[in-house]
Amino acid sequence: MSIEANEEFRPKIVAFCCNWCSYAGADLAGSSRLAYPADVKIIRVPCSCRVNPMFILRAFEKGADGVIMCGCHPGDCHYSTGNYYARRRMTLLFSMLDYIGVENGRTRVEWVSAAEGVKFSTTMNEFVEKIHSLGKNVRLGDLRCRN
């Protein structure tokens, strides 16, 4: 992990947000001018259950330093049950990533409602700070290096 001394580490962070709650929560954070670092880029999906673990692995492989998924609170899913499936999938995926030595701080799920602009902003600030403390993600980009 060698970063040029004078080059500031700017993490790449992908946030998957469901259209109905979390994306709207991010919009509210915006209209409330609640700042969070520009390192976070949001991808809109209809529901957290649309997030395929392959998307997350792909992000890491392409150089993301952290991936966060946001959805409606359990019980509030626009499609009734989507986030319950997403919750199981992400729990197992994150546990697997932890198992192969990817720091578990690089992955996160947060339930953010359309009214929780503050929570969205706070979550993103926290997450970026966490990624800063972990530094650049080298592992998933380099899981299979042939010596």
Binding site: A38, K41, V45, A59
Partner: protein
């Protein structure tokens, strides 16, 4: 390759003050597929939209990216704009550079960099967009209402008045439901029958309404706009076309020992019976389990006395199959069984009754002709105790976790009516909280306390003990005065919790409508779509969705009717094109997608496919796009990637990921 136009909005200074919009447009021209880029003050304005339309025509654009505010704000505006210019509306993607960028960042360089990346992601996505067309499906202009209580009647009347045919299916021999058992209604104390029966008559007489009583829904297939339903019309043993409703058969029937369902078992009825005098239809049914003719072959008295010759012992169940565009569930409620509440001695004493039984006792047509008397010895009571929340707001598994909502008000009503008619009777109410939200509700309750001297005690009753003198010893606590209370009562009335009609589980399964742990039907959205089921074309009316009183039930019934009318008014349904589709060459037919679909939109068929020259019959997933709402749960469950979501395809999302991580 797409020919993409990128339009960067200043949004006045909302975006332009923090994002170098010119730079974003300039950078856009370096992206693959982008042939046009410009920035403008307000893209959403008429002039802004016109610029997009002009560019589409001039440069033959096939895809549009608008870098502006949230797509939740103006995605539709831009979709309509490009459609007017001849482009498919789903060829638009919005990069949110306002809410997600300019409004939260201060540094211009940083915000511009981010805006460029968001633009790139949108360009990458639109490169993979395909024109999407909403599907169409037909609508059968007929509605089915399951349940003939006040909710079902009101929904049916409203739909029928709008000019659509409605069928009501009611399990019991008459429509009317719980409301027909109620004596008076709160908070106005008007007579329940006086306001309900005219509606029953109206429904019966309405040219657009067909009522199937003593009938049940047996099978449902199809989907929104096009349901096919089998209704089992149980054998009534009475020819409805001949019966005049004279009632002689009921008088003469020698079998009179069956507890009356309508009077909650407080008295008995004959084997051939109508549940109550104002029943609709006023045609009796023969209860074959109680009828001597059916049990022994002898008797046949009703047939002999029937001048119309309407009795038909050989009548068989009949299955009616009908098509419907919309289905409204109005299956209502019942009181919970009290077998787990032995401490209140309900099963030990006839003088411990439920509130609904009290309604029948107070009713002039009830078992006591409306005289308040003890069911054990017929004596008028002097001391009455009401116990609230029996099985409601319960933390253990004996009762229900929810508040039954109506009990506080009907108990106030009962207390007031008793004190009004029998001023010498003392009325005590044990309560946890008195909950009276609703128009004129709290005033009503206060009248009970202040004007009628009803004794409200905050506290719960621990035990009701029948005494040898015929009285009931009530042991409770007063939480405010912090003391034990022991009271001798003549009658104890239990405000038992209400629960959804137990049949609703079966019905929900047939409709693929979801149900919660308490058996209440789940609404599509708790706040914004409270009368719709998540399953398209299924609407919820009355207590089947959650506890409510009569006015609330009627308003919800009307709302459900409006939603059903809104559906029936359409000749064709345009379906959201962002639905899942299965690639038949990749599908394994494993059923995992159907297992996670909340809408029952996925079915399987054995289909001959041509896999690069190899023909074979395979089990293939089929998505009904009229039912699919586009959540995408199935796409992730599918290991082969056969299932994909239009508008949010795997490749589109991966392209966004790649663009962001580039």
């Amino acid at each position: 390759m797409q020919r993409i136009g990128v339009f960067v909005c200043h949004c006045g200074s909302n975006i332009a003050a923090t994002v170098d919009v010119k730079k974003v447009a300039e950078m856009a021209l370096m992206e693959p597929g982008v042939v046009h880029a410009e920035d403008y003050q307000y893209m959403c304005s008429e002039a802004g939209q016109a610029r997009i339309q002009e560019a589409i025509k001039e440069k033959n654009l096939t895809g549009i990216v608008v870098c502006s505010c949230s797509p939740r704000m103006h995605e539709n505006t831009f979709r309509k704009a490009v459609e007017r210019a001849g482009l498919n509306p789903y060829m638009v993607e919005v990069a949110n550079i306002r809410e997600h960028c300019s409004w939260i960042h201060k540094d211009i360089e940083e915000a511009t960099k981010k805006a460029v990346i968001l633009m790139r992601a949108a360009v990458a996505k639109v490169n993979l967009n395909t024109p999407l067309k909403p599907g169409e499906s037909r609508v059968t202009k007929r509605a089915l209402v399951i349940g003939g209580g006040i909710a079902g009647i009101q929904t049916a009347l409203d739909i029928a008045d709008a000019g659509y045919k409605v069928d009501i299916v009611e399990k019991t021999p008459s429509i009317g439901g719980r409301m027909s058992q109620v004596d008076k209604t709160f908070p106005t104390l008007d007579c329940s029958a006086c306001i309900l029966t005219p509606k029953m008559v109206e429904a019966n007489a309405h040219e657009n309404i067909t009522i199937y009583t003593y009938s049940e829904v047996e099978n449902v297939s199809g989907f929104v706009g096009d349901f096919t339903v089998d209704i089992r019309k149980k054998a009534r043993s009475v020819d409805m076309t001949k019966c005049t409703g004279c009632g002689v058969c009921q008088e003469k029937c020698p079998s009179k020992k069956t507890p009356s369902e309508f009077n909650r078992g407080l008295n008995n009825r004959s084997a051939i019976y109508t549940p109550f005098a104002q029943a609709i239809p006023n045609v009796p049914v023969i209860d074959r389990e109680a009828c001597i003719k059916f049990k022994t072959g002898k008797c046949g008295l009703c047939s002999k006395v029937c001048q119309a010759g309407a009795i038909d012992y050989d009548q068989k169940d009949e299955i009616i199959t009908e098509k419907y565009g919309a289905i409204v569930v109005a299956t209502g409620f019942d009181m919970i069984k009290l077998d787990k509440y032995d401490e209140y001695a309900y099963s030990q004493s006839k003088d411990v009754i439920t509130s609904l039984e009290l309604e029948r006792i107070m009713n002039a047509a009830g078992p006591t002709k409306g005289h308040l008397e003890r069911m054990s010895d017929g004596k008028p009571p002097k001391e009455m105790v009401f116990i609230q929340c029996v099985g409601s707001r319960c933390s253990d598994d004996r009762g229900k976790s929810y508040c039954s909502k109506i009990c506080c008000m009907y108990t106030a009503k009962h207390a007031m009516l008793i004190r009004d008619k029998y001023p010498d009777v003392n009325v005590t109410v044990f309560y946890i909280d008195v909950r009276t939200p609703g128009k004129n509700f709290d005033e009503f309750y206060r009248r009970a306390v202040e004007d009628y001297g009803v004794n409200y005690i905050k506290g719960q009753v621990g035990k009701v003990i029948p005494q040898s003198n015929g009285k009931l010893l009530v042991r409770g606590v007063d939480l405010i005065d912090q003391k034990q209370i022991v009271k001798e009562a003549d009658m104890v009335v239990l405000a038992a919790a209400i629960e959804p009609n137990p049949d609703v589980r079966k019905i929900a399964t047939m409709l693929t409508a979801s149900i919660d742990t308490n058996n209440f039907l789940t609404e599509a959205h708790a706040k914004l779509r409270p009368v719709e089921s998540p399953t398209a074309g299924i609407f919820l009316s009355g207590v089947c969705q959650g506890p409510k009183d009569i006015p609330e039930t009627v308003s919800q019934a009307g709302a459900a009717a409006v939603k059903a009318i809104g559906l029936l008014a359409k000749d064709k349904l345009m379906t959201n094109p962002c639905t899942a589709h299965s690639d038949e060459l990749l599908c394994n037919g494993c059923s995992n997608c159907a297992n996670v679909c909340p809408y029952g939109a996925i079915s399987y068929e054995d289909k001959e496919v041509n896999d690069h020259g190899k023909r074979e019959v395979r089990r293939i997933a089929q998505v009904n796009s009229a039912l699919c709402q586009g959540c995408g749960a199935c796409t992730v469950t599918c290991p082969s990637g056969a299932m994909d979501l239009q508008g949010f395809s795997n490749r589109q999302i991966l392209a966004e990921v790649d663009a962001i991580c580039r």
